[in-house]
Amino acid sequence: IVKSGLILQSISNDVYQNLAVEDWIHDHMNLEGKPVLFLWRNSPSVVIGRHQNPWQECNLNLMREEGIKLARRRSGGGTVYHDMGNINLTFFTTKKKYDRMENLKLVVRALNSVQPQLDVQPTKRFDLLLDGQFKISGTASKIGRTTAYHHCTLLCGTDRTFLSSLLKSPYQGIRSNATASIPALVKNLLEKDPTLTCEVLMNAIAAEYAAYHQIDNHISLINPTDETLFPGINSKAKELKTWEWIYGKTPKFSINTSFNVLYEQSHLEIKVFIDIKNGRIEICNIEAPDHWLPMEICDKLNSSFIGSKFCPIETSMLINILHRTCPEDDEVHSKWNILCEKIKGIM
């Protein structure tokens, strides 16, 4: 029997292009007797699971300031931070051959082939733990009609401080049915052993995969924007970048919070109740004390928000339009600005 299989490595570090490769292989390749391993790394990005809420999972304000991309993948699971110090591995098989534990054991064998003393174990939730305490890999998967894929991360030399601050949500009062991430203590393999670089580990995993499936140990470099290799892939990448996919797919949620504004040397509490469906405001109830901002103005703001994206950019545009159409005095305008800045801050 001639064994078949492929080991692919992306030349791109764009998270959307790389996720599109996964979609493409899942949709188009016949994996019967021909499993595929895909190796990829991304420039700094936060990746949330299919059914997650980005407002609940990460600091979107910080991400906007730092130019960190946000992507939603099609598999389940929790939120992760990718940078060039993290390796992503995707194991493609038929549905019948889908076996996450088998894949993780393969990764462990590969790690031990480089460093036999390394203590890495898979857990029941398909994490990989270093020294019994530090998470170095998280897993997620997608099961389709006839094919499935299991992908996992592997921390070699990621910026852990940045990771912690990005994956900490500052947003209060969120009530949601979305799947929530479980925070974990992480560590980089490079901190344990400086020889465990991304290159070394990718090669070791490829070698172990080739040995296990009895195929050539040959990594094929692929360009995820090549339409001749992957017809239709660019439109898949484009879909993954849309606001509708990244934010609009967030399960329905509500926000019940408040913030303070300074007024005549004391603090006034402004209550906020917002319902968001498909990333758009469905119900909006901003309650400011009437003596600070007239109720008609608050009401107008509330009704204007309905149907608009829960997004600071769209909110800014909305506020500008409202300003122009509502002649009010300077004092009211400045209060309006303060209120709107606070509201944008929770988006």
């Binding site: 059914h51 389940g76 699971g77 939730r125 398909f126 897993t139 998967s141 099961i143 009609r145 329905k252």
Partner: protein, 160 residues
């Protein structure tokens, strides 16, 4: 609401009929059903409502052109604890085999495929807060689509 939905289904059926050239008097079998592969369960006094299973382990019962869809006991056991159900919006039109949603369990998102063509007119809202119903009661409280109206001319199920 039901009347409007029924009218929409009929209107869609008319435009589909023009495009669809039936060669056989009996409507085509839903995806995955092959002679001998389907199992039927009698669910009521009338023989109109039988539960049919696809080989992907979705089930469907139909009555007067209205279908109810869920997943089988085998499927829910294989999945493990369901933590999230992603279902289509009411009004979504599905073709046979279309992906209509997903179930998430222990970090795996499993796609759901429509066993028939139709318009979704009612989903099981209880699953939003209680996705575990799919495991506890996959044929009753854990049903996925409560109502999907067929967009194919024939009304009754075809005996295999």
């Amino acid at each position: 609401m039901a009347l409007r939905a029924a009218w929409r289904a009929r209107a869609a059926a008319c435009s589909l009929r023009a495009a669809w050239a039936p060669a056989v008097p009996c409507p085509p079998l839903p995806l995955g059903l092959r002679a001998g592969a389907a199992r039927t369960l009698r669910t009521g006094p009338a023989l109109l409502s039988v539960r049919k299973f696809t080989d992907k382990h979705e089930w469907i019962t139909t009555e007067n052109g209205i279908g109810t869809v869920g997943i089988s006991n085998f499927a829910q056991e294989a999945l493990g604890d369901v933590v999230y159900c992603s279902l289509p919006e009411v009004g979504t039109k599905l073709n046979k085999q279309d992906e209509f949603g997903a179930l998430e369990s222990v970090k795996a998102a499993s796609e759901l495929y429509s066993p028939l063509s139709g318009e979704v007119t009612e989903i099981n809202e209880a699953l939003a807060e209680n996705p575990g119903l799919v495991n506890k009661s996959c044929y009753e409280d854990g049903k996925l689509l409560l109502e999907i109206q067929r967009i194919i001319a024939a009304v009754n199920v075809c005996r295999i």
